[in-house]
Amino acid sequence: MSGWTWEVRATADQVVDLSAAMKGFDWSLSVAEVERLPLAEMRRPNGTVERRVVGDLFRVTRQSDDPQLVLLGTCERLSGIGHRWSSGQLTVDGSAGSAVAREQVAGTIRVLGSVGDGLAAGKRGGLVRVDGDAGASIGGPTIGRGPGMRGGAVWVRGNAGDRVGERLRRGTIVVEGHCGSECGLQMIAGTVLIAGTVGPHVGRLLRRGTLIARRDMVRPLAEPAWSPPQVVELLVLRLLWRAIASWNASLAWIREWPIQCERQIGDRTAGGIGEFLRT
């Protein structure tokens, strides 16, 4: 193993927010400096406030100068992994909690297991890959902010929860499995591609952007909120398939997807002129 390793010492007894530590982490820091990075304050049920640092939670080691960080151990109760991640590769060797890749700027984040809600909330760039499933609101807004993800790419190999691409502003989200209800809720722009089935209320209040699903997995959306389906050939899909296939060799299958599709425009109840493509 090369680069940095943060190994969880003991499973956290409650959710621990790693945002502050992730934001403060830098490849140039020493092990001691990383161990002193603060974690979010934790308020105990008895009212006491606990201030902890990275070294309290993780055994930190540095094997080389490679810009790679691996989180080992049980990370399901850790939220904010990859918060504002801006360079290099972050790997979670297992599952992770909520808000993975929140406000990610660049670089690559890979979670070998599943993640909780709020994956890639407010993300601005880079790629996040989840080999398992993801919870609700992929690419959604961060708390108290209007638009959702503003750039970059999200790739979920398993299934996704509700509200995939909620208020998505820019960027591409690919879910290889199925997704829950309200996919593309209030989407502003960007692209969401679901290879599996899609739950009810697809594209509700969508204003712009592109929702893509497979013709054999999803029915056309209901009129009059959506325009009648029209068969069209969209050259832009070829560029999109190529771009997605370039993320990883295991996405090569998408190159075979046709560029002819059924297109609907909506959600017209919200004055939207986004598109729902069944290919």
């Binding site: 750039g151 820019r170 960027g171 591409t172 722009a189 960007g190 692209t191 712009r208 592109t210 069209v232 050939e233 969209l234 050259l235 832009v236 070829r238 560029l239 999109l240 190529r242 771009a243 370039s246 002129i273 598109e275």
Partner: protein
């Protein structure tokens, strides 16, 4: 110096700094791609009155293009970035947007960039769709055959204009036939174009004129009908002179095109009636680049 018995004058071609862009035009078939590209670069022989110097650089295979279709690569050169953008947008809107099945992409990954589709998008009247793919922005404009897909901006870089050499021959047809050979040979050189029809200008010019406001006028030193009236640079055996003009993205590209062209002419030149090769310059006072013919031919 002689090449295959053809004298090469001890002189140089004078080139100028320009701003260049490359636009890739694709279509459903090579015929439509070529039609669009030819229209796009049309009336693009000289910056003096056309705004840009432009030509099709080469055909593109489906493997090379972003959308996996065949296409043409066009190079455009202007004196400044503002003029280049104005010309590119105008030509894109009238010649490529209008042509069935076409799409347009930047063929240069350089900064700074100029507008391409971003200034044509409003033709979509609000139905246009912006799409960011792989860090590049594209515009999808609804048109009567589907969508016109166009990259929002095109990269630019510094280029070299005005590379040239002059073919001296026994008569006009001999000179034209020799230039045809050069034109075909130079088409294999990357990163450069020959913007005049067939690569050739018969109206080579000198700076200024007896008429006020005219920036350039006939190069009387090479006009055979003025021999004996003006100071002629034509050898006795020459009855005609034609100038091949080259614009390139780099100095090396222009130099390479000059070399390839001259060698091609000289390889068949004696049989065609070529009597010499020279070049046009302004005494080295106007242009930043000098291409000494004998040096270029090594």
């Amino acid at each position: 110096m002689e090449l295959n018995g053809i004298p090469i004058a001890d002189t140089f071609a004078e080139g100028f700094g320009m701003v260049a862009t490359r636009v890739w035009i694709t279509a459903a078939t090579s015929a439509w791609a070529e039609r669009a590209a030819r229209a796009f670069v049309g009336f693009g022989t000289s910056v003096i009155a056309c705004g840009v110097e432009a030509a099709v650089e080469r055909p593109l295979s489906a493997e090379e293009t972003p959308d996996g279709r065949v296409g043409c690569s066009a190079l455009l050169f202007a004196v400044d970035r503002g003029t280049l953008e104005k010309q590119v947008v105008r030509r894109l809107g009238q010649c490529v947007l209008t042509c069935p099945t076409t799409a347009a992409f930047s063929g240069l990954d350089r900064e700074p960039r100029i507008a391409l589709g971003s200034k044509v998008r409003q033709f979509g009247d609000g139905w246009q769709i912006s799409k960011w793919i792989d860090g590049r922005r594209y515009w999808r404009i609804p048109v009567m055959d589907g969508e016109f897909l166009c990259e929002a901006t095109a990269g630019t870089q510094r280029g070299v204009g005005g590379g040239n050499y002059i073919v001296l021959a026994k008569d006009a047809l001999a000179a034209a036939n020799a230039c045809e050979v050069a034109y075909q040979a130079m088409a294999t050189v990357r990163d450069c174009i020959t913007p005049f029809p067939g690569g050739v200008a018969r109206s080579g010019s000198k700076v200024g004129s007896k008429y006020r406001g005219l920036l350039a006028s006939t190069n009387d030193a090479f006009a055979p009908t003025l021999r004996g009236v003006c100071d002629s640079l034509l050898p006795d055996a020459a009855g005609a002179a034609l100038e091949i003009v080259i614009d390139g993205l780099t100095v090396d590209a222009v130099r390479s095109a000059i070399e390839v062209g001259i060698r091609a002419v000289c390889a068949v030149g004696r049989d065609l009636g070529v009597v010499g090769i020279t070049a046009g310059n302004y005494g080295g006072k106007l242009g930043q680049y000098q291409f000494a013919l004998r040096e270029v031919l090594g």
